[in-house]
């Protein structure tokens, strides 16, 4: 894919950081505000799509290499299933951190409340794990399909 014009690239350079931070905001506040792991991961994924479209290939920004994404994806998923396993003392997906006073543990005020980050037990951790997995899944999908489109098109006109 050929690159876009200079203006688009400069705007992308400026904007993509904010999109990624906004995506992480949605992931982190999944248990308070609308959103969560999947939606936040999709927002960060859209930042990668923006980079791909404007730069023509994602790894022009050195840190966005394909195998970094698959590494992140592996870690995200393993963190998620380990969280599931860790509740195994009682049952598989048991929320052992909820209302336990520890990390993310204090009980939420019943009824309408301004929202306290430290509630929700395992849910914020799972949000982060799924968010990590979804954003890296989007990264890998975008790169692979863009490169695959190049590969299949090349065959046709060569």
């Amino acid at each position: 894919m050929k690159e876009m014009s200079r203006i688009v690239k400069t705007v992308t350079n400026f904007v993509y950081g904010f999109i990624i931070v906004f995506g992480f905001y949605i992931i982190a506040h999944g248990h308070l505000t609308p959103g969560g792991g999947f939606q936040g991961g999709a927002v960060v994924g859209s930042a990668f799509a923006l980079l791909l479209v404007s730069y023509g290939s994602l790894n022009s920004k050195k840190f966005l290499e394909k195998d970094i994404f698959s590494l992140f994806e592996g870690f995200g998923l393993i963190l998620f299933i380990v969280l599931g396993f860790s509740g195994l003392g009682i049952t598989f997906f048991y929320n052992f951190l909820a209302n336990s006073g520890g990390w993310f543990g204090n009980a939420a005020v019943i009824g309408v409340n301004p929202g306290d980050m430290n509630t929700g037990g395992v849910i914020p951790l799972m949000n982060i794990a799924v968010g990590l997995e979804v954003l890296s899944a989007f990264g890998v999908i975008i790169i692979t399909m863009a490169r695959g489109a190049e590969f299949t098109k090349k065959k046709e006109n060569s």
Partner: protein, 88 residues
């Protein structure tokens, strides 16, 4: 010939849909909402999360979300397997 069979199948299927749309209950009033009322009432106390939907997605029906993440992981591994020969 194939077109006629497909046409008949399409009409039958479309009539299935229309009948189900007509006698499904009216739009805004859920007749039974016992399970959801339980979630709305107890989500905060049991899981501590303000967002009831997230508490369902990750705590009450967490196994679905594990299956969900696996679906996405399968699609990604399948894609990478499909385009593994491509060297940009």
């Amino acid at each position: 010939m194939k077109k006629i069979i497909f046409g008949i199948a399409f009409i039958i299927f479309f009539s299935f849909l229309i009948v189900s749309a007509i006698n499904m209950r009216t739009f805004g009033e859920p007749t039974i909402s016992q399970m959801d009322d339980y979630f709305i009432k107890n989500a905060q106390s049991e899981t501590g999360a303000n967002n009831v939907v997230t508490s369902i997605v990750f705590d009450y029906r967490g196994f679905d979300t594990l299956g969900e993440a696996t679906v996405l992981f399968t699609a990604v591994v399948g894609l990478v397997a499909l385009f593994r020969g491509v060297k940009k």
